[in-house]
Symmetry: C2
DNA sequence: CTCAGAATGATAATCGTTGTCAACTCGGTG
DNA sequence: CACCGAGTTGACAACGATTATCATTCTGAG
């Protein structure tokens, strides 16, 4: 059978989006990424940025989460399941793993008769630098 | 001393929103709640529903979370910190507690020097009823 | 080189949510 | 009880993020 690759035909624009994502260590919104691409001289339409991000999200190549005000933010992440520890001041992001959490969610879900279980877990806080230098000029 | 009550002046509309929330066992969007109020014969403006929900959310009287497509959904919940196990088919919601998870997130955050930590955790799955009857035409 | 189909991009459309502002209500006062 | 000031309401406009549309362009294969 055909390989599982649901990837679209490779194009310069998709490559550009993937590159910009790879350069950023933190989560960024689709519009922010689009803006950065324009600054970098890349000519990519906003709609294309959205499509590329969706495609990569579907393929599991990027993580997506929603800010409190409902905006979607994206980030290129290590493959595999993990969670994020995000500084709410500077946006710094740390990927964390928690086998215990995975086990716990599965067990709780099973206890209630749920199957085909997934979960989302994000941790927000203030990182050491921001806590210390919050008053920095 | 002035109580911490940031609550607004009590009105019929706010009561109506609180009531409708109390009757629903599952998460519902602001617009869905507004629709239900109209069906119930209550005359409440959509903007007022949003304001009432925000006020209750600020007061910690309701839980808010975002669906995958960014829509905010609300539910009247037990006070205190807890998480949700939601059936992605029928929407049934179970409140769950996980002291172990709380501990884990705090520890992980501390290890990375983060302070003032909060977290969000939601579990999605298919409940027993939906799993069984999923093949229904 | 040429073709078919997929991808792009500018724009319009959609949807949820928030802001605006005149009219209204509440609760207390004289 | 009538009145008052401030907080609320509600209809509608405004807004921002995302998605759909559709003619044009590009990719890879033959």
């Amino acid at each position: 059978m055909t390989t599982g690759r649901a990837s679209r035909r490779p194009t310069r624009q998709q490559q550009a989006v993937a590159d910009i994502l790879g350069q950023s260590a933190d989560f960024a919104s689709a519009q922010a990424l689009h803006g950065r691409l324009r600054e970098a001289g890349e000519t990519v339409g906003l709609a294309t940025v959205y499509r590329a991000l969706q495609a990569m999200a579907d393929a599991g190549q990027v993580d997506v989460l929603r800010t409190d005000d409902g905006e979607a933010v994206y980030r290129a992440c290590e493959p595999g399941h993990h969670h994020h520890l995000v500084c709410r001041t500077c946006g710094r992001t740390v990927e964390v793993e928690g086998p215990a959490v995975e086990t716990w969610t599965d067990r709780v879900a099973a206890e209630h008769g749920f199957i085909d279980v997934t979960h989302t877990l994000e941790i927000f806080g203030t990182c050491a630098d921001c806590a210390r230098g919050a008053s920095a000029s």
